[in-house]
Subunit: 350 residues, 2 copies
C-alpha cells in the first residue's frame, strides 16, 4: 500500500478546511502547532489556544512563519469559563492540550488529573452547552494500553494503563466517546504512539525519550539506553500525525471511534539510537541499568496496528524514519536556541 | 460446584479478621454496612467512614444492632487531610464510598468526578504516604464494561463505559491497580453487578432499579418496565457481595487484580418483576417506552462470568434470588420508615 492508495476520504478532506473555523488546544505545542501549520496552508481560520506553562511544550516559535495567519489566545484548559467562551463558533476543535509526562504524573497526580481528566470534561461540557455542532478530535495515547498482551496492538486491546497519566488520558478519551454517543457532540480519539519531528520540547527529558535523544546527539553527548535496548517501538513523524488529525476532523466516519496512529515497522531503542547517531554524525551511546521509577511504569515492547484508521480514513504514515530524523536534526540545528535555554546553569540543572 | 467446594482461601479468610483494624469508606451505605455487620461478627475492629450526604445511601440505621461495636466517623472522602489521618493504622480498607447514580453523573459530571475519580486518588495517596502496608479493596462496577460485546462478560472484556459514572469508576479502579503495581500499596477491585438486599437506599430512584422496584412492590404501586423487559441481568445478594470483599481483603492472591462479582443465572427484567410481585403479593407491572435519557446510557443485556474470583478466592454466590427477595421484602416491611421519608410531599416529589 502506498501514499496514493485510495481511502474513503482521501483527497477531499483537505478541501474541507478551506474557510473553516478551527480551534487547537495545545496549539503552540509540538503536534498542535504542526496541525496549525497544515491548516494555514489549507486556508482554515485557526485559533491557537495554549497555556504556555513553562515546563510544557508550548512555544511561540512553533508558529514561526504563520504567526500572522493564526490567532493566538493564551489560556488554560482548566479555566472553564474561558473554555465556555472560546469553543463557540468553531467547526472543529483539535484537542491536544495535555500534561504529557508519565513521570510527573506519578509525582503530582492531581495536576495530571486536572489537565488530562477534569479539563477534558470541561471542554466537552462547554461544547455541549455552547457549541453542540462542533467536531472534536482528541489526542489520545498508546499509553492507555499499558504493557501489551499481544503485538501489534489493535484498538480491541484492553485498556490497562501502567501509570496515572495513562489513566487520566483514558478517562479523557472516554469522556469524548460518551459525549459523542449520549449528547451528540461529535468526537473521536487518536491514540498516538511515539511522535517525533521538529518543534518538540527539548528543554527537559520528562516528556518521552526521542526528543531528548535528539538533543543529546546534537550536543554530541552520551545517550543512555536502559537495559539491553531491545524494546521495540514505532515512531510517527509529526506531519504524518497531523495529517491523521485533519482526516479525522473532516470525516463523519470517525465519530465515536478511537484509532491507533502508529508508525510503520517497529525499531528497537538500540537500532534507533544507532540510526540517530549515524544520521547526526554526533553523539554516542551507553547501556545503563533501568532507573527503578522508570522501570516501574515501562511498557516493554510496543507497536501499534494502524489498519483501522487506514481503512476508515485512508491515513497512513509516509515519512521514512531515516528521512524524518534527518529533517528533525536539520530543524533543530537551525533553531536550537529556540528550544533549549542558553544558560549553562539551566542545562546543568536538568 | 457448591458452597463447600474447595477454594484456595476457603475457610481461613474469616479467621483473618479477628482483631484486625478495618476501615470502610461508605460504611453506612448499603454494601459497606453489610461488610461492617459481617466484620463485627468476626471480631474485627471496625471504623465506619461515611459522608451521610442526604441524597446518597448512607444511613445510620444500617448499623442498627452493631452501633456499639463499630466506630463511626462522619467525613467526606473528598477531604484529603481527613483521609490522610483516617487511613493510618488500618490493616484493610474496604473502599466503597462513591456517587452511584448514572443519571446524576450525566447531569453533574464534576461531582461524580470529584468523588469517584479524584477522591480515589486522594485515598491512595494517603495510603502511600501514611499507611503503605494497608490492603485496599475497591468497589468497582460492571458499568465500566458498557454494552457488552459478548456474554457472559469476563474480566478480559474491553472497558468502554457508556456514561460519565462508568468512566470515573474505571479511572478510580485503575488508580488502585497502578498504586498496587508501582507503589506497592496492595489493592484490588471487585466489579459488582446488580447487588440487592436489605439496607439499600429506597428514597429515590436514581441509584439502580431493583431497590426502587422493591419499594414500589411493597407500596402496592405500579412498576414500569422499559421496552419489552427482556434485557437480562444478574443479581447478587448483598451478603454474598460482602463475602467477596472479605475474601479479597484477606488474600494476597487478589493484589493487582480485578474480579467480576456477579450472580448466578441471569434473569430478564420482566421475569424479575413477576418474581418480585409474586413474592411480595403486592405491586403490579406495566410496560412503557424507554425514557430517552435512560435509553442513551442503557447497556442492554448484561451478566458476568465470575469464575475468576471463584477460582482465585473461592467465592461464589449462595443466596437464591427468590429467597433473597423474600428476605429483602421482610426487612423493609419491618423497617420501611427508616428508608423512606414519611411525608407524602417528599414521596410525591420523586
Amino acid at each position: 500500500m502506498n501514499a496514493a492508495s485510495p481511502g474513503r476520504h482521501q483527497g477531499d478532506y483537505r478541501e474541507f478546511y478551506r474557510g473553516r473555523r478551527v480551534m487547537i488546544t495545545g496549539g503552540l505545542g509540538f503536534i498542535g502547532s504542526t496541525v496549525a501549520h497544515q491548516l494555514v496552508e489549507l486556508d482554515a481560520r485557526v485559533l491557537v489556544v495554549d497555556s504556555l506553562i513553562p515546563e510544557y511544550g508550548g512555544n511561540l516559535f512553533n508558529i514561526d512563519g504563520i504567526e500572522d495567519r493564526v490567532r493566538v489566545n493564551v489560556a488554560d484548559v482548566r479555566q472553564q469559563s474561558t473554555m465556555n467562551y472560546l469553543v463557540r463558533d468553531h467547526d472543529v476543535i483539535f484537542n491536544l492540550a495535555g500534561q504529557v509526562s508519565h513521570i510527573d504524573s506519578m509525582q503530582d497526580p492531581y495536576t495530571d488529573l486536572e489537565i488530562n481528566c477534569r479539563s477534558q470534561l470541561s471542554i466537552l461540557e462547554a461544547c455541549r452547552r455552547y457549541n453542540p455542532a462542533v467536531k472534536v478530535v482528541f489526542a489520545g495515547t498508546r499509553q492507555v494500553y499499558g504493557r501489551p498482551d499481544s503485538l501489534p496492538v489493535t484498538e480491541t486491546h484492553l485498556v490497562k494503563p501502567t501509570d496515572v497519566n495513562g489513566i487520566n488520558k483514558a478517562a479523557g478519551e472516554y469522556y469524548h466517546l460518551v459525549y459523542n454517543n449520549v449528547f451528540g457532540v461529535r468526537a473521536c480519539s487518536l491514540r498516538l504512539t511515539n511522535v517525533y519531528g521538529p518543534r518538540q520540547l527539548l528543554k527537559h527529558n520528562r516528556q518521552g525519550f526521542i526528543a531528548w535523544f535528539i538533543r543529546l546527539a546534537l550536543e554530541d553527548r552520551e545517550i543512555q539506553i536502559y537495559g539491553d535496548g531491545k524494546q521495540l517501538r514505532d515512531f510517527v513523524y509529526v506531519d504524518d500525525a497531523a495529517d491523521a488529525f485533519l482526516r479525522a476532523g473532516a470525516s463523519e466516519a470517525s465519530n465515536g471511534h478511537v484509532f491507533n496512529v502508529g508508525g510503520g515497522d517497529p525499531i528497537s531503542h538500540r537500532d534507533l539510537v544507532d540510526l540517530l547517531i549515524s544520521t547526526a554524525g554526533t553523539g554516542r551511546s551507553r547501556y545503563v541499568e533501568w532507573p527503578p521509577e522508570k522501570k516501574a511504569i515501562d511498557i516493554g515492547d510496543f507497536y501499534a496496528d494502524s489498519s483501522l484508521i487506514r481503512q476508515t480514513l485512508g491515513w497512513q504514515p509516509v515519512m521514512p524514519l531515516r528521512e524524518g530524523l534527518a529533517r528533525t536534526l536539520t530543524f533543530y540545528r537551525a533553531n536550537m536556541e529556540r528550544y533549549v535555554p542558553t544558560t549553562e546553569s539551566t542545562v546543568g540543572a536538568l
